[in-house]
Subunit: 316 residues, 2 copies
């Protein structure tokens, strides 16, 4: 019988002969991600600050995005200002370009839109300093990946996000991996303000790194952004307005009543379990795999998240 | 005004200061892919052999897949045998796993299927030698990429496909880039036969390289495979049979009447225009880009295809 679920099993993560921690039993197949996470401790998980957690409601469900204010603080603040004004409510997903990005914004501001109908940014700023990179902060946690990167001298994870670093310039930046969220802009580097956002839905377009402000990561709901019909217009814009997907609302989790606040936690990227997880990606040995890769690339590692038992309280 | 089409323009390719051919005018912005291709010569394009061109018809449109028989000849032959028997007609897309693969096969053979209803493979073989790698063939064209790779000692393009090489072992293999098509299998390396196929729809799962037979690439119609609702079942299988997408038919282009034969041509990956295209990916300078990447990764280069003026004749 052709049991295709075995191919399928190739998608789960397993552990490594090389893992540094408790995975040293060379006789056993590498554990799956599920098995690894089941053994993790509660302290290895963190709940995002509700003021960094965006809840985007679509008819199809909920998308959760975590802001990364240590990397793009001015953009995070401007996006919070927009959200508190309910700026995004009733705007749309306007563009889905295959193997690239899903973008949402005010269609009136796009090519072919009616400039007279452009929604006011209210108290939010219209332009911002670029924040495409930031000085390396040795105080931020850093989990290096050991296998190199085509684009940057060093790559790893910080505070749950994929990051590239250049020690020569002293700069670091969030990278355009699958599920990362960036800020659309005009030609001028300062013209992004967070009112037009995109999520990466294909092979990581790393050429965008250091050219756009990356503001966070989709924690939940990627299929609601990636599994959409591609736009037939230029660069994946929906050709007809009725094809756009309406954004019912975007709220900060911290502004929601406690009962509506999402309960989500993210595996700490400076935890032992995350280190084990990286090793299972690098070297997988089980009944299916003939040859372990021996390496893993930055965008090949997804940071696990899961439902938390209770929503985190909002700090006063 | 917030002209978001300028962000959008970041998706097109442009040329480089470093390009080896006619792109040496340092004052001008790098041309777009469209501009580069417009200047290409007819001889830089090839029409796939109709006996290597699969036409998969869905209700939503047509998917074209080019086989790579120089890399996986036994699998190509078995798939042709299946197609000539109309094996795939009425089977289904059964699985769409976010950031991973879309898979189509006989649902009766999957977990939870009815083994009594499994469709016969007819004259096709049930098992095949793995063909996960092949000896490096110096007679095949080879266009090396200059920026390295996390997973393999050498990467580049051969006959229109992304390829990795290991000179130490003397082996080369097709890589799991976006749009590449592979053969699902059971645990045994010989258990793949081409009756279950998958296309990569997310970040390249390069850990699968050398562990599965890669048989070709989607030339047209990727959005019909990638823009589907993700399956809610384990590993992205559709939980309910009615969610599956029916395959109306799969034919070899060479078996179609000339009037129905797709007219498509692919840019030769050993052409000067393709070399220029790689350079535009590596180093892009225009009004939008502040910092050219300086590098490109293997799966970051899509091989262009376009409609041909006439369908290629079938060789007798």
């Amino acid at each position: 019988m052709f049991r295709r679920h075995h191919f399928v099993a190739a998608t789960a993560l397993s552990a490594s002969l090389l893992a540094l921690s408790a995975l040293a039993d060379q006789g056993k197949p590498t554990p799956t991600t599920q098995e690894l996470l089941a053994k993790s401790s509660a302290a290895e998980w963190r709940q995002p600050d509700p003021n960094n957690l965006l809840v985007m409601q679509l008819a199809s469900g909920r998308v959760l995005i975590e802001l990364a204010p240590d990397f793009t603080p001015l953009h995070a603040a401007n996006i919070r200002t927009l959200i508190k004004q309910h700026y995004f409510d009733g705007l749309s997903i306007v563009r889905v370009q295959d193997n690239f990005v899903t973008q949402w914004d005010d269609p009136a501001g796009d090519d072919g839109g009616d400039p007279k109908k452009i929604r006011s940014l209210g108290h939010a700023k219209n332009t911002l300093p670029p924040e495409f990179t930031r000085p390396i902060d040795p105080k931020l946690p850093w989990t290096a990946l050991p296998d190199g990167d085509v684009y940057a001298p060093e790559v790893g994870f910080s505070e749950g996000f994929p990051v590239a670093r250049d020690p020569a310039s002293g700069q670091e930046w969030l990278t355009h991996c699958y599920g990362m969220v960036g800020v659309g802009r005009d030609n001028g580097p300062e013209t992004g303000n967070g009112s037009a956002l995109y999520a990466v839905i294909g092979q990581a377009p790393r050429r965008l790194d250091r050219n756009l402000a990356v503001i966070g990561r989709v924690l939940e709901g990627m299929p609601l952004l990636s599994g959409l019909p591609r736009g037939a217009g230029p660069m994946g814009f929906y050709a007809k307005p009725e094809q756009r997907i309406t954004i019912q609302s975007v709220r900060l989790a911290g502004d929601l009543p406690p009962a509506q606040r999402p309960s989500v936690e993210v595996l700490r990227t400076d935890s032992a379990t995350f280190a084990d997880l990286i090793e299972t990606k690098r070297n997988r040995r089980d009944a299916f795999y003939a040859v372990p890769a021996g390496k893993v690339d930055l965008c090949g590692v997804d940071v696990p998240e899961r439902a938390a038992k209770t929503a985190v309280p909002v700090k006063p």
